[in-house]
């Protein structure tokens, strides 16, 4: 992986990790490092996105992701509008494309969308000029969650290449699992997915992961385990295991962790079902980084919003300037050191 010389972000949207290169993922991570420093300051705001408007368009109830994006946008001085709506009326009401175009007509720069159908963000991005950041679409991808997972792992372990990560739970219906798999394998991690067979989707091995139905086997060599939320209330008609049966065989308990590596990192995208996918002791225990993930989520989402916005600015500049002029690429972090920074009193070097 060659990270030398001006890695840059050119994408209009962030729709998933499958389409990103290792370099692009690393750029988000390094940018997020700068922003993590910012959110630790007494005054946590930078002017990077001043004058920009971001709409959080949430078709699925989500408190934590929506709040994380909202805080990230506000830390960057963007104006944020939240729209929460129901997908149940999707066929009767305004179409997604019409909604997107209406939002765009309000001169919005970026749409952060959560949707219960796979591919919704891809479709929206195809039909609007505004940047689209996927905050989770169906079972497809949840790129910012995976980026914050990877950010947290890198912070804890110092590297991603060569580490071994187990992902345990409902892989079949999990957008987090898919984004984690893309991101981790692109950066050279080994990934094992573990679940009852009915929750393992077909051909997943071809995505570059190992598959096991034995939790102890999955944990044996893992440097980290990402425990997915189990949604037993799911009303999809798909086959699903019994709740108690699941905890007995796949629940993460202290007993089981004792047989794993001593410093195994325990992650969870939240919200936790205590006593279902993991015990309370594990959730609150020394190996758990669950709350750090939440904090890192802000830094990572700031990085994503910043890079995507910057790419949009660069495209505009390129369009208006003559062909001779070099397009303006702003290095990550440099904006934190703009004049506004002097107001904050602490320039940042990256």
């Amino acid at each position: 992986m060659n990270m030398s010389r001006n890695p840059s972000w050119e994408r209009k949207d962030l729709l998933g990790l499958k389409e990103l290169s290792a370099e692009e993922i690393s750029l988000v991570l390094s940018t997020a490092e700068s922003f993590k420093e910012v959110i630790g300051r007494p005054i946590k705001k930078v002017p990077a996105l001043r004058g920009k408007t971001i709409v959080n368009l949430f078709y699925e109830p989500s408190t934590r992701t929506r709040i994380s994006f909202e805080i990230a946008a506000k830390r960057l001085s963007a104006d944020v509008i939240n729209i929460a709506t129901e997908t149940s009326s999707v066929r009767k009401g305004e179409t997604l494309i019409d909604t997107g175009r209406n939002i765009e007509a309000l001169k919005v720069d970026m749409i952060v969308m959560r949707h219960s159908y796979s591919g919704a963000a891809v479709m929206l991005a195809r039909h609007v000029g505004a940047s689209v950041v996927n905050a989770g679409d169906g079972w497809h991808e949840h790129p910012t969650q995976a980026l914050l997972d990877i950010f947290t792992l890198k912070e804890k372990l110092g590297r991603i290449e060569g580490i071994h990560v187990a992902i345990v739970g409902d892989i079949a219906h999990s957008r987090v699992a898919r984004s984690d798999i893309w991101g981790l394998t692109k950066l050279g991690a080994r990934v094992t997915v573990c679940a009852p067979s009915m929750l393992i989707p077909p051909c997943i091995g071809e995505m570059g992961v190992s598959v096991t139905h034995d939790l102890q086997e999955a944990l044996a060599e893992a440097d980290a385990v990402n425990v997915l939320r189990m949604q037993f209330e799911r009303d999809s008609g798909d086959a699903f295991p019994q709740q108690l049966e699941y905890f007995k065989n796949f629940g993460i308990t202290e007993e089981r962790l004792k047989k794993a590596k001593k410093n195994i990192i325990v992650m969870h995208p939240g919200p936790i079902n205590r006593g279902i996918e993991m015990s309370s002791e594990v959730a609150d225990g020394a190996n758990s980084v669950i709350l750090e993930q939440v904090t890192n989520g802000i830094a990572v989402r700031m990085a994503v919003l910043f890079l995507v916005s910057q790419a949009a600015e660069n495209r505009k500049t390129r369009r208006t300037k003559s062909a001779k002029t070099e397009s303006q690429v702003i290095a990550p972090g440099s904006l934190i050191g703009t004049p506004a920074n002097s107001l904050l009193g602490k320039p940042v070097n990256t």
Partner: protein, 429 residues
């Protein structure tokens, strides 16, 4: 009007003609085929460098009228047909109301008489309202002109009822066309079950949903001795079953569609609903098996399964987008650019697949370029390249998987029943 088509490269699979010659059309019929025809004709078409084929026969077309005239009508659908070189279509009966009674069939034929630009043959439903519960009146439908029966769009789930349908169809001399899908297996699936459905987070349709029903229908048809035609074959396992049945000497024919021969489920990468159809695009291994089956004659014909839908039914969340793609205007050019341009197919083979074979399956007097026949002729420029655009469609709908693609091979002129039904140029003479 008399038309003289001069110096075209004639391809007639029925008579094994593959030579440069002229065709004279008089009073709606082919008056003569030969070299150096000297005749005064009102219209002379210089076809030098062009390929001249019998008008194409597409035995799987959804014209949507009556009931869904917002998607397509007999008028627009048959305009699309002749634009694609198709002069005969078999209209599927899944309209609203369904073509499930002599009255509905007469109503449909009345629309055809008033508005069609091509020949339109009708298939009637197997069950009333296509509900899978009660058989339609096969004898009466046959008497009114139905060529085949099918519940296309769904399969008759009741084995006993389906066996009865085969028995009755055999008695009446009707072809049974089977849409093979076990809904208990396909359920809410939207694309092929496999790596792509896993990556995209979409519900998958297993191949078993198709081939188990192919297996059942082949066995019921064999039991009753009724000729059966398997529609839109999409996977390798179905091909194997059909090949085995043919080997046993069973009267079975099969069709696939251009999209199954050209694309795979990898085309769904961007969730483009114009690649969403039922059965779904399968894997490369399936596509290759279909290509081989076409070569081997296991698959007899290629039909478009032309399934127009409005943009508001397609450009929505992928799960909700309607199944189906248009195909009348791209089937000839699509196959030509994919297979003839790369020397994997000859024009003779294409003419057989798209014209003489389906005519034979349906038992209609089409697919031939002989004197005395109804003059259904298509002139194709094999070298002309064109780009498929929304604006270019004669169909009311634009849901084509070929959108944006450059195709090689263009229909220059279509003559249907001796009349010029389509020309690519205003003053084509």
């Amino acid at each position: 009007m008399d038309i003289l088509i001069k110096n075209g490269h004639l391809i007639d699979p029925a008579a094994s003609v593959d030579a440069v010659a002229d065709i004279l059309v008089k009073d709606g019929v082919i008056a003569g085929v030969g070299t150096g025809i000297q005749e005064e004709a009102q219209k002379i078409i210089d076809a030098s460098g062009k390929v001249v084929l019998p008008g194409l026969v597409d035995m799987h077309v959804h014209l949507r009228e009556p009931g869904r005239e917002d998607k397509e009508t007999v008028a627009t659908g048959t305009k699309a047909a002749v634009k694609g070189g198709v002069t005969s279509v078999l209209a599927m009966p899944n309209t609203t109301p369904a073509i499930d009674s002599p009255e509905h069939l007469r109503m449909f034929q009345d629309i055809v008489r008033k508005t069609a630009s091509s020949h339109v043959f009708a298939a009637a439903a197997i069950t009333k309202g296509r509900a899978g519960a009660e058989l339609t009146d096969f004898a009466a439908l046959k008497a009114e002109g139905a060529l085949a029966v099918t519940d296309d769009g769904s399969s008759v789930d009741d084995d006993g009822l389906m066996e009865e349908a085969f028995r009755l169809a055999k008695k009446c001399g009707l072809l049974v066309i089977c849409h093979c899908e076990d809904k208990r297996l396909s359920q809410k699936g939207v694309i092929n079950l496999g790596l792509m459905s896993t990556e995209l987070g979409l519900r998958g349709i297993p191949k078993e949903a198709e081939y188990r029903r192919v297996e059942r229908d082949l066995s019921l048809a064999a039991k009753t001795g009724c000729p059966v035609h398997i529609a839109h074959v999409s996977c390798r396992e179905s091909v194997d079953l059909i090949a085995a049945a043919k080997k046993r000497g069973q009267p079975v024919t099969a069709e696939t569609a251009p999209h199954y021969l050209i694309f795979t489920d990898e085309a769904l990468e961007t969730y483009d609903p114009n690649f969403k159809m039922n059965p779904p695009l399968r894997t490369k291994a399936d596509r290759d098996a279909l290509r081989q089956a076409v070569k081997d004659g296991v698959i007899d014909t290629v039909a478009s399964d032309h399934a127009p839908h409005t943009e508001s039914e397609k450009d929505i969340e992928f799960d909700h987008a309607e199944f189906g793609v248009t195909g009348l205007e791209t089937e000839c050019a699509g196959l030509a650019s994919e297979f003839i341009a790369s020397d994997q197919m000859t024009w003779m083979e294409l003419a057989r697949l798209l014209s003489s074979a389906p005519a034979k399956i349906l038992g209609i007097d089409k697919g031939k370029l002989e004197a005395g026949r109804c003059a259904d002729i298509v002139v194709v420029d094999p070298g002309r390249e064109w780009v498929v655009t929304k604006a270019g469609f004669a169909s009311k709908s634009n849901n084509s998987p070929f959108l944006g693609r450059k195709l090689k091979g263009a229909v220059e002129c279509t003559i249907c029943a001796g009349k010029i039904a389509y020309t690519s140029k205003k003053n084509f003479s």
